[in-house]
Structure formats: structure tokens, C-alpha cells
Amino acid sequence: MDRSCVECYYFLVAVMLPAPFTAEFLNRLEVLRLRTRKDVLGNRPGAYSSPRRGTSLEFADYRKYSPGDDLRYVDWGIFARSDRLYVRLFHEEVDLFAYIFIDASASMAFPSIKEKFAPACNLAVALSYVVLANHDHVRLHSLKDENAAASPFYRGRQRMRDLIHFVSSVAPAGALEPAPCLGNHLKHIRRPGKAILISDFLVSADAYQRGLNLLRAFNLDISVIQVLSREEIEPALPRGELGLIDSENFSELRLEWSETLRREYQEKLVRHNRELKSFCHQNGIHYSFYPTDGDLGRFVLKTLPATGLFR
């Protein structure tokens, strides 16, 4: 694709995408690339290290020469010193399969879709665009109930339209049990790659730990992005007796809301987030926190590279 075509494409995508996705923003996303901590199994040459031996420039190992090996890979220095023929082996570099899981439970619609779910989707689209711009594969999964709604693999910028169409079709509803829901999705994953989980993680620690362990079991390089709305971080509930209804299971909780209670809730939320972060850190999972009223561009272009998700 020549430069004029790229600019035209940027324009079309910018028209289709929500407000944060300006042509300039997309242009800056072009230079990013996801970082993986594990080797991945791609099916095409790419930029990510594979456990298989290949033809990259990165040295991997030696093995004894066997008849039929390409003489270009014989290490003649070793032969001179030891009079034995060894062949140099190199890592294989393959393309990346990225799996982006979007929490589409009802809690993501709090306080409104525009204030939480839409920013989460924007983030997912931005990450997807980074993958697509690098000619890697990306697949979106909506985590909702036990329904496994997943998009096909997209590759190349030209699939942005399909990707956006899929994201637009996802509506937050229902409760989320991370482990069963992720299990349903993982049944269809054949290649290990990069898994990015975007969720508010407002579930019990046991629930999200089981879900993340399930991802770990599939040898996926996991990144977790916790999204919370400002209303969840600093609730502005009216004082007095309230009947709070859980948006996912519609259970009601009576409480006397006060300033003291608000502070206690915030302390508890901080502990909850700290526990999640600690679990991620202990298990080699990349963790980031995105308040949905924050600037998406700054988060994607500054925060995520700084925390090591991009390189």
C-alpha cells in the first residue's frame, strides 16, 4: 500500500471510528507493536519469536551436522577448533495471534454505556488496530454469561471495518463468571498468543484468579487492563438509606450511604485492585488500570508503552 492509499485509509477509518480515533491518533498507533513475554506460534513470518527454529537472525542453538543440511549454516570456526561439523540454528519469527477479551457483563454499563463500556471498546479497538497494523492476527471475544461470542481472526488494516462491526454488535448484559466464560472461549483457541483481558474485575478474587489461571494454562501471554468508571472509583450516591441493585444479578442491598461509607468503599476498592495487581505480578501477567474518564490516547500512547505492553 503506497502512502496515498494509507492516508485515504486513515481517513475512512477515522470516519467510521468514534471520536478518539483521529487520523493522527491512528498514525501514532502505527508505530506501536505488542510486546510478548513468551514465544508465540504463528503461521506466517512475522516479528515475534517462535519456539520453533527458523531463519531469523537471532541465534538459538547448535546441532550436529546431518547430511543435507545447508552448508551456509555450518559453523566453520568450531570445525576449525574441534574438527567437527556443527550447524547454527536460529529462532523462527512468526506473526502474532492476539486475543482481546472484552468484559460485556452488565456491570460494564455502569453508570452508562458511554461512560464505561464504550471507552473499554475504544481501548480494545485501539489495541486491535495496533495488531492489525503490524499484519498480525487479532480476535475479539465478548465475555458475557456463558455465551461465547467471538469474532473471526482479523488480519490487516482492511479488517477494521469488520472488527468495528463486531464491537458494535456487543451489548453489555448479564452476569459474568470469568472462569466458565473464558473456558468456553478457550475451547476455540488453537494457537498460543497474546491474550488481553479488558474488564472491571468487579468479581471475587477467587473468580478472576480462576479465570486468569485458565488463560495461563493455555500458555497465553496475558495482559490485564482493568477499566473502572469514575462513578465506581468515587461514587456520588445520595446520602441516606439506599437500596442498591446489582446491575448483573439484580440483587438488592440496603445500606445507609454516608461519607464514611464512601471512604470505606474506596479503601476496599483500592485493596481489591491491589490484590488483583499483586496476583498479576506474581503470575507474570501484565496489569494496567484505565479509568474510563481518562484520555484514551494518553493511556494507549504513554501509559501502556511505559508499563511494557508495547514496544
Binding site: V170, S247, H272
Partner: protein, 607 residues
């Protein structure tokens, strides 16, 4: 501070009702929240009570203050400094009997005074004053407002003319001396000028009036016993008035005639040869504003001769008076006069002598010694000429003063009490004085002996003075407020016109409480003497433009300006401000940001 509508303060008892909305268990507001995972441990335990936990947010106290302000405003609070040392002066003169509609001016004054007193604080001290018979305090001690109102109702107007005082100066003097913070004068006089401490409330409007200003029943002359009556009616209006004059004797109608009188003029009616009655009454049928001056009373002069007691060291000169018809003369020496009791006489003549004090009868002093109670004696004059005389005057009628040349005279000095009737270049030769219904005349020359035609000017003067003294024996009667022309003796009592019987506390006193117009009777049980008392002040009858009370705005010793400010508008403003503050602070549902919105299908569109 005080409340003009204190009954509204009972509504404060309803303030606890403000707690009810906070006690009633309200259904909690139901709101969506993303996840209750982190909130479960904060759940409250449900109470079985029908009322909720008493939770009083700061907004409750704001509402409480708001309600308190509104209820206080209903009570009409006012900040006032009201005077506590107050004087109330009521004009109770005769003109206050004039009617204004159905009420008299005095009744209007009582109503106004009651209003003023009601507005005073309970601890105020009030002094009540009346202006007639003189400006005086009604009670010795100051009264509380309630007591003053009760005392006020016992007061009434008197048939008296007002004293000739400068009300403005007199009232301001009262304020200064008694340290009144406020003095209210309720009168029918208008106010002129202003004063911080003196307030004049003018009651009544100018109105026309017809009044009998004079009523006299007298013998035609000293020698003739026939009676004649003269009635003078004055028109105090700007239009001609027609009226019918009724002449009554002993309460029964004797004559009745129609008359008309021009504006600001008087008309005189004469009734001759009237039958003798104990007393007479003249009445006009004018339905004007003041009924008091539409009647007037008179008693006839005593029948019989003029009894004269002559005290003289030279009795032969006085004995010539016996030549005058209708005169009975008793001659005594000054020494005998001092020792003896000569009973009542119509006239006492002190010839070259004088008593220690003015007698209780008409008296003529002829060339009295220096120690006399009436006049001072001046220089001796030889054949003085008369340079002036009072005219018209009963004493100077028909006299050719060019021929009036007494051989010897002494100038007199009246000393402020009497008035000079005959003047010479060196001083008065005749000084007359009317006091306590008695007439006194001092002469600086000797008109005796009575020579008849031989000395005509002096003889005419002698007859004039006898006639003058004779008129003074009754007929027109006295004025209200003046003492009766008789001393009360032991066993005698006074029957007032209203039927009240008054016994003197001690004998030989002069009855002076003649505050009502009418016939007064002095009786000892068997005989009675009648005295007519009439309103003697024409100014009271003139209801058109009484003189204004001139105030000079002299600061009082305890000048305190009354201050009054109604606070309820400010309280309402404060309540309004609180209402705005409450509206701003109270998290009303309309202004509240919803914590969560119900999830709708239409919202599940990402872009």
C-alpha cells in the same frame, strides 16, 4: 422586641411536626450499581419498628430555622423603643362638649387616649392631666397604662373656659420639669410648629355655633321693683342664623320669640315687666355643635331696698344717701365695725377707713387710708382735672367729666388687680375690681355728701356706683369656675345643678367648685339662696378656628425619640434566603445526578 400578633407564636408548638417526615420510614431510593461485591458488608440490618431511625441531617436544622423564621414573621415582631415616662393631657374645657357626629370631642379624645395608652409598654408610667379649671395632674401618683385607661373613663368635660395660658410653652415646661419622654395633648386646638416630645392630637373640625353670651335679669332701676331681662345671642358662623328664643321662669315657659342674627354679629333680646320667679332660663333652639351655650341661667336681684353699711368717722356726710330712694343706710364707726357683727349687707361703704381684708360683700372705699387691702394711695391733689375714663362703663354713664372737679383727691395705684375707671394726669381717681363675684370700688375723691342737682356730675357718679353695686347683687349670675358670691355657714350645704348635695368641710368657706352651668342652691334646710352659674368664656363658643398650640421644639431633659421598626419583612427575606440555601444544599431528586440508570436495550450500542 415584641410581637404585634403574639397568638401566631402558638404555632411554634407545631414545630416538632417537622420531625415526622424524618421519623417515617421511607422506602429507600433504589439505584443501580455496577457490583455490590465491595458493599455487601455495609448492608444495614432491617428494623421492625414502624418508624425509621431518627436521622437528622443538617438540612433538617436549616428547615427548622426556616420554619422558625416564618412563624416569627407571622407573629409580626417589631423592634421598638417606646417611651415609658408619658404624660397625657386632656382638654376638658367646655368646647370639648361639641359633638362630632354621634360622639363629643371629649369622647373622641378618650378613645384616642385609650389607643395611645394601649400602645405603651406595660411598665410605662403615665401622668394624666386636665386643662380646666387649671392645668393639673389628675392623680398624685403615676399610673400604669391599664390604670390610666380606667381613670380616663371617669373623666368628663367641664363647663369651663380654658385658662389663658400659652399651651405650647406650658406643655414644654412640663416635659422639661417632669422629664417626660412624650407628652400627648388631646384637644380641639390645632397644632403649630413641631416638638420632639410634645404631640398635639386635634379632635373635631371647625363648625358654626350660636351661643347665648349674656343673660341678665335686673330691676329697671334702683327705685323701681319691675324686672327686665336682656339676652344676647351671638352668631359664630358665616351665615345668618334663625332661631327661637325661649324665656323660662322656674323651668316653665314664659315667652318665646323668633330672632335672626347676622354672621359674626350679636342680637339682643329684651323682656320687660317679667314676673318674679326664683330663677330664669333663656334657651335657643339652635341645633348646633355645642349645646352647652344654648342655655343660660339667671336669678333675679333681691327684692327690696339696697342695704348699705356705711363705716365712716364722718357719718354726717354719708347720711345724705338716705335721700336716694331704695336705699337703706346703717352708719357705724370704724371702731364699732371692727368689734361688731352687722350681718349681711348689699354694700359696705368704707369712708376714710378700710377693713383689714376685703369683705365678703360689695364694698366702696372712699379715700381709704394707706393700709387698705385694695389700692395704694398716692399724692394729694387739689381740684384735679379728669383726663380720661372708661367708656362705656356703668360708672361713667351720663357724666360730663369736664365739670367733674372734686375739691380734693388723692391719686390711686391699682397695683395690677383693679382697673382704672377715672384717670387724672397724676393717676387714677377711681379703681374698680371684680373678684369672687364681689365688686369693689376705690375712690381717690369723696363724692359725699350727696348733693343732688347742686353737684350734678358727682351726684350722677354716685347714682351710677349705687346702680353698679346693685347690679352686682345677682341677675346675670356668675361664671363657671368662679366661687359663689356667698360664704357657706355652719349647717348650710350646696345643691349643684346635677342634684349633687355638697356639704362644706368647714364653715365660712367659699364654694368654688362651680364647674357645671346651672342653678346652685345654698340651703340650710329651711331657706335657700339661688345662684346662677353660666359659661363665662365666649371663646369656648367659637368653634370655628380656635388658636393653635404653638410648639417651639425645645429639647426635653429626657428627650427620647420613639423608635419603631417592624421586623417581619426582614424575617421573610431571611426565610427566603434560607429557602434558596436549602434548595441549593438539599440534594433534591430533580437535581441529583443519577447514580445509575436502568439498563435499556437501546443503550447497548457502542458507537
Amino acid at each position: 422586641m415584641e410581637f404585634l400578633n403574639p397568638a401566631a407564636l402558638y404555632a411554634f408548638a407545631l414545630l416538632p411536626l417537622l420531625l415526622v417526615p424524618y421519623l417515617i420510614r421511607r422506602r429507600p431510593r433504589r439505584l443501580f450499581f455496577s457490583s455490590l461485591l465491595l458493599l455487601r458488608e455495609f448492608a444495614t440490618r432491617r428494623s421492625a419498628r414502624p418508624w425509621g431511625r431518627l436521622h437528622l441531617p443538617p438540612i433538617f436544622f436549616l428547615q427548622l430555622l426556616l420554619m422558625a423564621l416564618l412563624l416569627s414573621a407571622l407573629g409580626e415582631p417589631s423592634l421598638s423603643f417606646r417611651p415609658v415616662n408619658v404624660a397625657l393631657v386632656l382638654d376638658n374645657s367646655a368646647s370639648m362638649q361639641a359633638t362630632e357626629g354621634e360622639k363629643s370631642r371629649f369622647q373622641l379624645a378618650q378613645t384616642e387616649a385609650a389607643k395611645i395608652l394601649s400602645a405603651l409598654p406595660a411598665h410605662a408610667r403615665v401622668d394624666l392631666y386636665i386643662v380646666v379649671p387649671r392645668l393639673t395632674r389628675v392623680t398624685e401618683e403615676s399610673l400604669k397604662p391599664g390604670e390610666a385607661i380606667a381613670r380616663l373613663n371617669s373623666l368628663g368635660p367641664l363647663d369651663l373656659g380654658e385658662p389663658a395660658i400659652d399651651y405650647g410653652a406650658e406643655l414644654e415646661r412640663l416635659v422639661r420639669e417632669r422629664k417626660y419622654e412624650l407628652l400627648n395633648f388631646l384637644t380641639d386646638h390645632p397644632a403649630g410648629g413641631q416638638s420632639e416630645n410634645v404631640r398635639v392630637a386635634t379632635l373635631g373640625r371647625p363648625k358654626p355655633n350660636l351661643a347665648i353670651t349674656e343673660f341678665q335679669v335686673a330691676r329697671r332701676s334702683l327705685a323701681l321693683p319691675q324686672l327686665e331681662a336682656r339676652v344676647t345671642v351671638r352668631n359664630f358662623s358665616v351665615t345668618e342664623q334663625n332661631f327661637r328664643l325661649a324665656f323660662k321662669g322656674n323651668g316653665k315657659l314664659l315667652l318665646s320669640r323668633p330672632y335672626s342674627v347676622a354672621p359674626n354679629r350679636s342680637v339682643e333680646a329684651a323682656f320687660e315687666n317679667i314676673p318674679w320667679r326664683p330663677y330664669y332660663e333663656a334657651e335657643i333652639d339652635a341645633g348646633d355643635g355645642l349645646a352647652l351655650d344654648n342655655r343660660r341661667f339667671a336669678v333675679p336681684p333681691p327684692q327690696g331696698a339696697l342695704k348699705i353699711l356705711a363705716v365712716s368717722p364722718r357719718p354726717e356726710a354719708l347720711s345724705s344717701l338716705r335721700a336716694i330712694p331704695g336705699v337703706e343706710l346703717q352708719l357705724v364707726s370704724p371702731e364699732a365695725y371692727e368689734k361688731g357683727n352687722f350681718g349681711p349687707h348689699a354694700l359696705e361703704i368704707f369712708h376714710y377707713s378700710a377693713p383689714a381684708a376685703l369683705p365678703d360683700s360689695h364694698a366702696l372705699f372712699v379715700l381709704p387710708p394707706k393700709q387698705n387691702p385694695l389700692v395704694e394711695i398716692g399724692a394729694a391733689l387739689s381740684r384735679p382735672t379728669v383726663s380720661g375714663w372708661r367708656e362705656p362703663h356703668p360708672l361713667t354713664r351720663y357724666i360730663n367729666f369736664a365739670l367733674f372737679r372734686p375739691a380734693y383727691a388723692r391719686a390711686l395705684k391699682p397695683g395690677g388687680l383693679g382697673e382704672a375707671i377715672v384717670q387724672s394726669p397724676d393717676g387714677p381717681l377711681a379703681v374698680a375690681l371684680e373678684q369672687n363675684n364681689f365688686r369693689y370700688l376705690a375712690l381717690g375723691f369723696d363724692p359725699f355728701p350727696f348733693l343732688g342737682r347742686q353737684n350734678l356730675p358727682v351726684s350722677i357718679f354716685t347714682l351710677n356706683l349705687l346702680e353698679w353695686f346693685h347690679e352686682g347683687r345677682g341677675g346675670s349670675g356668675g361664671a363657671t369656675g368662679e366661687p359663689l358670691a356667698a360664704r357657706l355657714r355652719a349647717g348650710e350645704s350646696v345643691l349643684a345643678p346635677d342634684g349633687e348635695k355638697i356639704a362644706p368641710e368647714k364653715s365660712s368657706t367659699v364654694f368654688a367648685r362651680t364647674y357645671a352651668q346651672g342653678i346652685y342652691r345654698i340651703t340650710d334646710g329651711e331657706t335657700e339662696k339661688l345662684f346662677a352659674v353660666n359659661l363665662g368664656d365666649e371663646r369656648e363658643s367659637d368653634l370655628r378656628e380656635p388658636p393653635a398650640v404653638q410648639l417651639r421644639n425645645e429639647p426635653g431633659a429626657a428627650a427620647g425619640r420613639a423608635f419603631y421598626a417592624s421586623l417581619w419583612p426582614y424575617l421573610l427575606l431571611a426565610a427566603l434566603a434560607l429557602l434558596l440555601l436549602e434548595w441549593f444544599l438539599n440534594p433534591a431528586s430533580a437535581r441529583e445526578r443519577p447514580a445509575s440508570e436502568p439498563v435499556k436495550r437501546d443503550d447497548f450500542r457502542w458507537a
